[in-house]
C-alpha cells in the first residue's frame, strides 16, 4: 500500500513538473502572441532511431528502437536587431539551450547555455544517436553554460571546467581557480570555409599523499569544408592532452564517451595525449536524395608508460531521403572498431526517422 502511495507521489511529482513545463511554455507562447515587440519562432524536432546493433565481442545482436534524446522543442526570439535569445528543451525536462545574445557595435555578448565555440559538425552519422563521429575523431565540446564574446568569425568563451580524473577516489578534493577558455576562428571564403580553435582548462587535486597536483587539459583543432557542385568534402583534425574533460572520446569500440581523462595512480597524475581526425564526403543528388560517407579515427596514448595506448576507427555510409520539407529518413550502415584485442567491434544498420517542424 505504501509503495503504491509512493508511486503515486512520484507520478504526481512528474506530472507537476510536466504541468509546470507546459504552463511555462503556454505562458511563453501566450506572451509571444501578444508581445508584438518580440519575434518568436517556435520549432521542434521528433526523432526515432531504429537500428540493429551487432556486437562482436559480446556476441549479441539487438534491435533497438526509441525516441532519440536529442528530440526537442524550442524557440528563437528576436527582441530587437541587437537583442536575441532562445531556449530548447529535450525529451525529458532537460534544458538543452537557454541563452540571450546582445549585439553591440563590434560584436556580440552571449550569456547562457548553447553550443560552445569548439564544435565542428562535418559528419552526419545518425547512429548513436546522431553520433557524427564526435567521439571517434570529431571535435565536440557540446552545450555548456558560458559567457561568450564574438567578433565576426572569432569567438571566445569562458566556461566551467570539468573535473573528472580517473581513479582519483571519492575523497579527493578538487580546486578550480580559473574558468575554462575556448576560442575559435571561423572563416568563409566563397566555396571554402575553415575553423581553427583551441580549448584549455585546469584544476588541482588537493590533499593527496603526495601533495597537490595540477590536471591540465587542452585541445587544438582545425576543420575545413569545400564544395564542388553537388559534392562537398569536409573534415577536421585535433591534438590534445587529457581531452576527456573538454570533449568526448571513445576508443573502445563501444561508443561510450568515457575515455581521454587523466588517470591517478595513487602518487601522481598520468596525463594522456590524444589525436583524432575525420573525413566526410557527401553528395546531394537532388532535393530528395543525398548520400554521405564518413571515416573517423582517434588514438590516445597515456604518458609515462603506464596504462594502455588505444585507438578506434569508425566508418559509415548513408542516404538521407527527404520525403517533404522537414521529413527525413536516413538509412545507414556503419562500424565502430576498437582495434585492439578485447575492444568491441560494433556493426550497425538501420535508419533514423525524423520530422522537423
Amino acid at each position: 500500500m505504501i509503495q503504491v502511495v509512493v508511486y503515486i507521489n512520484d507520478k504526481e511529482k512528474k506530472m507537476k513538473k510536466l504541468m509546470v513545463l507546459v504552463a511555462a511554455l503556454a505562458l511563453v507562447a501566450g506572451s509571444a502572441m501578444t508581445a508584438a515587440a518580440a519575434d518568436w519562432n517556435f520549432y521542434g524536432s521528433a526523432r526515432v532511431s531504429t537500428f540493429i546493433t551487432d556486437l562482436d565481442v559480446a556476441d549479441t545482436t539487438n534491435y533497438e528502437q526509441g525516441l532519440q534524446g536529442n528530440s526537442r522543442i524550442g524557440a528563437s526570439v528576436k527582441v530587437s536587431d541587437e537583442l536575441t535569445g532562445g531556449f530548447e528543451y529535450g525529451t525529458k525536462v532537460n534544458l538543452r539551450k537557454l541563452y540571450g545574445e546582445w549585439t553591440f557595435g563590434a560584436g556580440s555578448l552571449l550569456v547562457g547555455q548553447t553550443y560552445t565555440p569548439l564544435n565542428y559538425f562535418y559528419s552526419n552519422q545518425v547512429y548513436g544517436p546522431d553520433n557524427d563521429l564526435l567521439a571517434q575523431g570529431g571535435v565536440y565540446s557540446g552545450r555548456q553554460g558560458m559567457i561568450r564574446l564574438k567578433f565576426g568569425g572569432f569567438e571566445i568563451a569562458a566556461l566551467a571546467p570539468k573535473t573528472s580524473t580517473l581513479n582519483s577516489g571519492d575523497g579527493t578534493e578538487v580546486e578550480v581557480s580559473l574558468p575554462g577558455i575556448e576560442a575559435n576562428y571561423n572563416m568563409v571564403m566563397d566555396a571554402f570555409s575553415f575553423n581553427l580553435g583551441a580549448s584549455y582548462q585546469t584544476y588541482e587535486l588537493l590533499g593527496t599523499a603526495t601533495g597537490d597536483h595540477d590536471v591540465d587539459s587542452y585541445v587544438v583543432a582545425f576543420g575545413a569544408k569545400t564544395g564542388f557542385g553537388p559534392v562537398s568534402i569536409g573534415g577536421n583534425v585535433y591534438l590534445g592532452e587529457n581531452i576527456g574533460n573538454i570533449m568526448p572520446l571513445s576508443v573502445d569500440g563501444d561508443n561510450a564517451w568515457d575515455d581521454g581523462f587523466a588517470d591517478w595512480n595513487g602518487t601522481e597524475v598520468l596525463d594522456n595525449e590524444a589525436m583524432g581526425f575525420i573525413l566526410v564526403a557527401s553528395m546531394k543528388a537532388n532535393d530528395m536524395f543525398a548520400f554521405e560517407a564518413g571515416y573517423g579515427y582517434a588514438e590516445v596514448e597515456t604518458l609515462g608508460g603506464a596504462g594502455d595506448d588505444n585507438e578506434v576507427q569508425s566508418y559509415y555510409v548513408q542516404s538521407t531521403i527527404t520525403l517533404a520539407p522537414g521529413v527525413f529518413i536516413t538509412p545507414e550502415i556503419g562500424m565502430f572498431d576498437g582495434e585492439e584485442d578485447g575492444s568491441e567491434e560494433t556493426l550497425y544498420y538501420g535508419a533514423k526517422w525524423q520530422i522537423n517542424f
Binding site: F42, F121, N186, D190, G227, S232, D287, A324, Q354
Partner: protein
C-alpha cells in the same frame, strides 16, 4: 350617474391639460437652460494654442519628425471656432533667439508674447530603438496647473500613438473634448488614385477597400512549376520586351502575344542550381542587356551565380560560378547600376559593392555603406524622407522595411513585416544533426516607381503572409501575398495602395509595358502551389499583370 360621468370626464380632461402644461413648461425650462448654457460657449473667443517645436534628443537628424510632431499636434488640437493653433512661422519668429531649454515660466512668456492662451512644448528622446515623449501644456495665465505628459516605448513607430494619447489628454482635460484616436487625421485630402487593381488606403490607417469596378488582373502564363524569379527586358534589342521566368535551374524566355506569354526560348542549366533572383540590364554597354542570375548551390549554403546574354544569334553564358548575389538598381537619375553582394555567412551578411563590367566579367567598383542585416536582393535606392535625398530602402533579415541614408545609418524601421519567400539559405551547421540548420529566408525585390503620376516616387514592396503569422515552425508556408505601395508621410513609410491578396506567395515582380499599349503594367509572378511532398505533382505558378493607368 350621467352627471357623475360628466364630472369624471371633466376631471380627466383637466388632468390631461395640466400634464401637457407641465410637460411644456419643463421642456421650455430645459431648452432655456441649454440655450443659456450654450450661449457663453458660442460667444467665447476661441482658445489659442502655441505649439513650440519639440526638442529632439537623438544622435540622428530627426528634423522630419520634429516637423511631423508639429503637424500632428496642430491637427489633433485644432477645433474650428473653439481651438486655434498658431502656425509654425509665427511660432518660429517668436522663438528666434530663445534658449533651447524651455521652462514652464519661459514658455508662458513666449505664450504671452504670441497672445496665446496655452503653450505646448516638450522633447522627444530617441536612443537605440527606445523613444520617450515628454511634454507639457501650460496655461499662459498661470491659473491652471500645467498638464504634463511623459510616455516611452521601445519602438520608434509608436510615436504616433503616443501623440494621439497626449492630444487626447489635452482635448479631454483642457478643452473638454473627446475624440476617438482614429479620427485624429486631417480632413481627407484628395489622395492619389489607386491604379488598376489596387486597393486604396487612407491616411491614418490602412483601409481594406475593394475597388469597385476594378481590381482585376490579367493572367498571362500558368505553369506547373515554381517560378522562383522573374525579370523583364529587351534581351534581343529589337524593341520588344521579353519576360524571363526562372525555375530552380531553368530560364524561360517569353514574349507577349495576344495577351499571353509565349515561350520563345528555354535555357537549361545544371540541376545543381537553385535560382533565386533575376535582373536584366545592359551593364557592359554592348547593346544587348545581360540576364544576371543569382543562384544558390544545391546545398543551399553557397552561391554559383551566372550571367547570360544574347549574342545576336543565341543566348550564351558570359560568366558563371560567381559568388555574388546580383541586383540591378535604378538610380533616381534613371541610370542603372549593378550591385553585387559577396557570399559572407548568409544572404544578409556580405559586403555590397557597385559592380562594373571589366574584362570578361564584372568587378567591384566601390563598396556601399549599408546597415547590418542587409541583402542586396531586397534593396532599392531613391528619395524617401526628402525628394532631394539619396536613400536606401531595404527589407532586412528580420523582414522589417528599413530606410537608411547613404552613410549607412538607419533612419527608420517598420514594425510590420514585409517580404518573405520560400527561398532559403542554410546557415553553417551548429548542431550534430545535419538537417537541423538555421534557415534564413531571402526577401523579394523592392523598387521605386511613380505610381500616382505625381512625379513623386513611391516604394513597392512584397508582403507574403505566413500561416500562423510565422510564429510556429522553421519551414515557411504562405497563405497569401500582396504588393504594397508605400510613401513617406513625414513620420513613417505608410501604405498607399495594395494589390488584392493573392493566394500563395509572390516570388517577384516587375514594372514594364509588356503589352505595348503605352501604359506600364505591374507584372507579378505568384506561386500558388509549392511542392510539399516528394511524390506529389502539385507545383503551380502564374504570371499576372495589373494595368497601371495613371
Amino acid at each position: 350617474m350621467a352627471l357623475t360621468l360628466f364630472h369624471s370626464n371633466q376631471n380627466t380632461r383637466s388632468l390631461a391639460l395640466r400634464s401637457r402644461l407641465l410637460a411644456a413648461l419643463t421642456g421650455c425650462m430645459v431648452a432655456i437652460f441649454m440655450v443659456g448654457a450654450t450661449i457663453p460657449a458660442v460667444s467665447a473667443a476661441p482658445k489659442t494654442v502655441a505649439v513650440l517645436p519639440f526638442t529632439m534628443n537623438s544622435p540622428r537628424d530627426l528634423t522630419f519628425l520634429q516637423n511631423g510632431l508639429f503637424s500632428m499636434l496642430s491637427s489633433r488640437l485644432s477645433d474650428s471656432g473653439k481651438v486655434e493653433v498658431l502656425d509654425r512661422a509665427t511660432v518660429d519668429a517668436a522663438l528666434a533667439g530663445s534658449p533651447a531649454d524651455l521652462t514652464q515660466d519661459r514658455a508662458r512668456d513666449i505664450g504671452k508674447g504670441l497672445g496665446a492662451d496655452y503653450v505646448l512644448f516638450g522633447s522627444l528622446t530617441h536612443f537605440g530603438d527606445s523613444v520617450s515623449l515628454d511634454a507639457a501644456m501650460v496655461d499662459v495665465t498661470g491659473d491652471k496647473p500645467a498638464l504634463t505628459f511623459f510616455e516611452q516605448s521601445n519602438n520608434m513607430g509608436d510615436v504616433i500613438p503616443l501623440v494621439n494619447t497626449f492630444a487626447g489628454d489635452i482635448n479631454r482635460k483642457v478643452f473638454n473634448r473627446s475624440i476617438d484616436n482614429e479620427l485624429y487625421v486631417q480632413p481627407a485630402q484628395e489622395g492619389p488614385r489607386a491604379p488598376g487593381g489596387f486597393q486604396q488606403s487612407r491616411q491614418g490607417g490602412f483601409v481594406n477597400l475593394q475597388q469597385p469596378g476594378g481590381g482585376g488582373f490579367a493572367t498571362h502564363l500558368s505553369l506547373d512549376e515554381v517560378i522562383t524569379a522573374m525579370a523583364v527586358g529587351d534581351l534581343t534589342d529589337d524593341g520588344t520586351l521579353q519576360v524571363v521566368a526562372a525555375t530552380d535551374s531553368t530560364l524561360m524566355i517569353h514574349r507577349m502575344s495576344d495577351s499571353q506569354l509565349v515561350l520563345e526560348k528555354q535555357l537549361e542549366y545544371s540541376s545543381n542550381n537553385r535560382i533565386v533572383a533575376l535582373d536584366i540590364a545592359d551593364i557592359n554597354g554592348n547593346g544587348y542587356p545581360e540576364i544576371f542570375v543569382t543562384s544558390l548551390t544545391i546545398h543551399l549554403d553557397g552561391l554559383q551565380s551566372f550571367v547570360v546574354e544574347y549574342n545576336g544569334t543565341d543566348y550564351v553564358t558570359r560568366v558563371d560560378n560567381q559568388h555574388y548575389y546580383y541586383r540591378v538598381i535604378k538610380d533616381p537619375d534613371g541610370s542603372q547600376a549593378l550591385m553585387g553582394q559577396r557570399t559572407g555567412n548568409g544572404p544578409f551578411d556580405g559586403p555590397v559593392y557597385i559592380m562594373q563590367a571589366g574584362g570578361t566579367g564584372y568587378t567591384r567598383q566601390k563598396q556601399v555603406r549599408l546597415p547590418r542585416n542587409t541583402s542586396v536582393l531586397s534593396l532599392a535606392k531613391g528619395p524617401v524622407t526628402a525628394e532631394s535625398m539619396d536613400e536606401y530602402v531595404m527589407i532586412n533579415r528580420f523582414g522589417r522595411l528599413v530606410v537608411a541614408n547613404d552613410g549607412g545609418s538607419e533612419e527608420w524601421e517598420s514594425t510590420g513585416k514585409y517580404g518573405g519567400t520560400a527561398h532559403v539559405w542554410l546557415m553553417p551547421r551548429n548542431d550534430p544533426d545535419g538537417s537541423y540548420r538555421e534557415r534564413v529566408y531571402i526577401h523579394p525585390r523592392i523598387r521605386f516607381y511613380d505610381m500616382a503620376g505625381d512625379e513623386k516616387l513611391e516604394i513597392l514592396a512584397v508582403q507574403n503572409n505566413e500561416f500562423g503569422g510565422g510564429v510556429i515552425g522553421r519551414y515557411k508556408r504562405f497563405k497569401d501575398g500582396n504588393i504594397q505601395v508605400l510613401s513617406w508621410n513625414g513620420i513613417a513609410l505608410a501604405p498607399l495602395f495594395q494589390t488584392h491578396a493573392l493566394q500563395g506567395w509572390i516570388s517577384d515582380f516587375a514594372i514594364a509595358d509588356i503589352d505595348a499599349d503605352g501604359n506600364d503594367e505591374l507584372i507579378v509572378s505568384v506561386v500558388t502551389q509549392t511542392k510539399l511532398a516528394i511524390l506529389s505533382k502539385d507545383k503551380a505558378s502564374s504570371i499576372i499583370s495589373y494595368e497601371l493607368v495613371q
